[in-house]
Symmetry: C2
Subunit: 362 residues, 2 copies
């Protein structure tokens, strides 16, 4: 079993990479507990690893964006209150990012915070979102507008859940895994290149190692900047364009896939600005980014007016210019807030064509 320790000013916590079987058994022995389980995950694992869960202390929750709202959080309050639970109840979430966001928000706000344990079941949640303590709700068309910082007391990662993940969701998670490995610098980039095929084939040992590396790299960014005022912002590599692409595609593009295209776009601009060589840009594109693109992209997603409009709405933008996080030739992350619209238009035109051509030839 591997354990990663995460420091947080709210509470230090541990991420366990191991079979969750015995731990679930332990949790069922707690006096006051409630299990919030993703409906899909339950479907696949009700007779397997989740068999031990007490049906009377379990709420099945749909992993839908429209449930990631104040209304969804209220469903969770009601469920817990209906069980005359007390402040020392432990809430155990078993699911992906959506469940993490809404149950984490509910756990952080009920009684100003109850015990919370998270067992992530998607690659995105296991390799990325499970640490960092962000909880989020959508609000009236604004994605993730509302939220808190509230780390779980413990995270337990069991790769067994990845076996039943849909292909789209797997490749969405892969986007963040690749991003984090690139941010980890040359040795990690070489590592993922070597392991790439095994990862795509969902080889359990390789996946576990890639998840661990991803979390260690992310951990190094969040420890010094838990509340996202500086260094942590660099994790937005691929996200400045990524969020805009998700929005313009009306959330048809899965998050991690949008991040992949976002990295291609950011690299293009970095290369035009001469902070990344064309060769390095091409290397990332050909070896890691393009091969991981599995979502069908439409030319409409690359319309520059719509993308620029969406980028202007980015909640992390505080000045008047557009913001971009890029990587330079020395694998250092750089954030600029003077991105010009013509650079965006150029990047979208070139990249849009490439991405759509790539699909046709694959």
């Amino acid at each position: 079993m591997s354990i990663i320790k995460i420091h947080s000013s709210l509470r230090d916590y541990e991420v366990h990479l191991s079979s969750v079987s015995n731990y679930l058994q332990e949790l069922t022995c707690l006096e006051h507990k409630a299990f919030l389980v993703d409906e899909n995950v339950w479907q696949y694992h009700a007779n397997g690893i989740l068999k031990v869960l007490p049906r009377t202390e379990m709420l099945l929750f749909p992993a839908l964006e429209e449930k990631k709202t104040l209304e969804g959080a209220q469903d969770i309050y009601e469920y817990i209150l209906g069980r005359s639970a007390k402040r020392n109840l432990t809430l155990v979430t078993i699911g992906g990012g959506i469940l993490q966001d809404v149950t984490g928000f509910a756990a952080s706000t009920l009684y100003r915070g109850i015990n919370w344990i998270f067992i992530p079941t998607t690659l995105l949640a296991q390799a990325d979102s499970c640490i960092g303590g962000k909880t989020s709700l959508n609000y009236k068309g604004y994605k993730n507008l509302i939220g808190t910082f509230y780390p779980p007391m413990a995270v337990w990662i069991d790769p067994c859940f990845l076996g039943t993940l849909q292909t789209q969701d797997f490749f969405s998670g892969l986007g963040e895994v690749i991003k984090l490995h690139i941010m980890g610098g040359e040795p990690k980039i070489q590592q993922i290149l070597q392991e790439y095929d095994l990862i795509c084939n969902k080889d359990a040992i390789t996946l576990k190692s890639a998840i661990q590396t991803s979390l260690e790299i992310k951990g190094s960014y969040i420890t010094d900047d838990e509340f996202d005022r500086g260094k942590r912002n660099m994790l937005n590599y691929g996200h400045c364009f990524g969020h805009a692409l998700e929005s313009v595609s009306n959330f048809y593009i899965p998050h991690g896939q949008a991040v992949i295209v976002g990295m291609i776009l950011a690299n293009h601009i970095a290369s035009k600005r001469r902070i990344l060589t064309k060769e390095r840009c091409q290397f990332f594109e050909e070896k890691l980014l393009m091969p991981s693109l599995k979502t069908q992209m439409k030319p409409g997603y690359f319309q520059s007016d719509a993308i620029i409009e969406a980028m202007k709405k980015d909640k992390k933008r505080t000045g008047s210019g557009l913001v971009l996080v890029m990587i330079n030739e020395s694998d250092e992350m750089i954030r600029v807030d003077d991105l010009e619209e013509y650079e965006v238009r150029d990047a979208l035109e070139v990249t849009g064509k490439k991405v759509i051509h790539h699909e046709k030839t694959n």
Copy 2:
């Protein structure tokens, strides 16, 4: 000007005791700001100290319990979003505890936390609630069920606001001031005894000093236990019964007045348990607690079944017994969770009579 520094794992912040006039002028110069002002406070000070506030960047908010809800928080989200505000907006709250609770919740959850400055205007908020970082919302009949820990960036206390406070509200605040002085031990008890008449006459200098002492004592309890898992719980002296009395009176009794009766009840039980002498119990009662009771109490408020029922619902109760915080003969705070119902019945009978008799003779 006096400054009290408060340590918090989320952020350290300062409480300034001084005229807020120049500071308000400074705040109006911020590029992105919004002022949330208590309707009543505005009525009294619109042409005075609050004259500098820009009307176009100000929302008047009613200090009503029914606005201290998720709906009230949404009113604040909407107001801020309607001004196309960004994540670097500073929200300035000017009001009492209700405004602190609901605007603090909104500030802590919008974009996972925006800049927030609190200018408390009631004695309760100035001398007690403004530090500690608790935000609260009522939820479906449950008082303060939802909330976060989110300290303001700065607190600015100007006693000028106390001049326009209603008598009931003033004596509600006095309850917490007395509680904190008692918790501060013998020197602070002697201090408030000496200053009592001046405080009741709202002498500005004495009030400022009593507020400062109250905050310093509270500060010593919250610094080591910000998230209220241990020592901070002692601040609940007077609150175990106090919350129940508020609830049974359908919130007719103002909070701090209920805390005063709660201290009388807790002292009675402490004396019966022989951890406080009858003399000391009587001393607190005659010198500080009874004289500060200004709310008319009805015999119905002391019905033991209703009080016990309400105490069982206390959100801080995690075991099966009833919880009580008491003071002992050495001015040390003690928390027990084995309070027996017969002790509660006895205390209510004796104290109920005393309180109602006290009113009749005053």
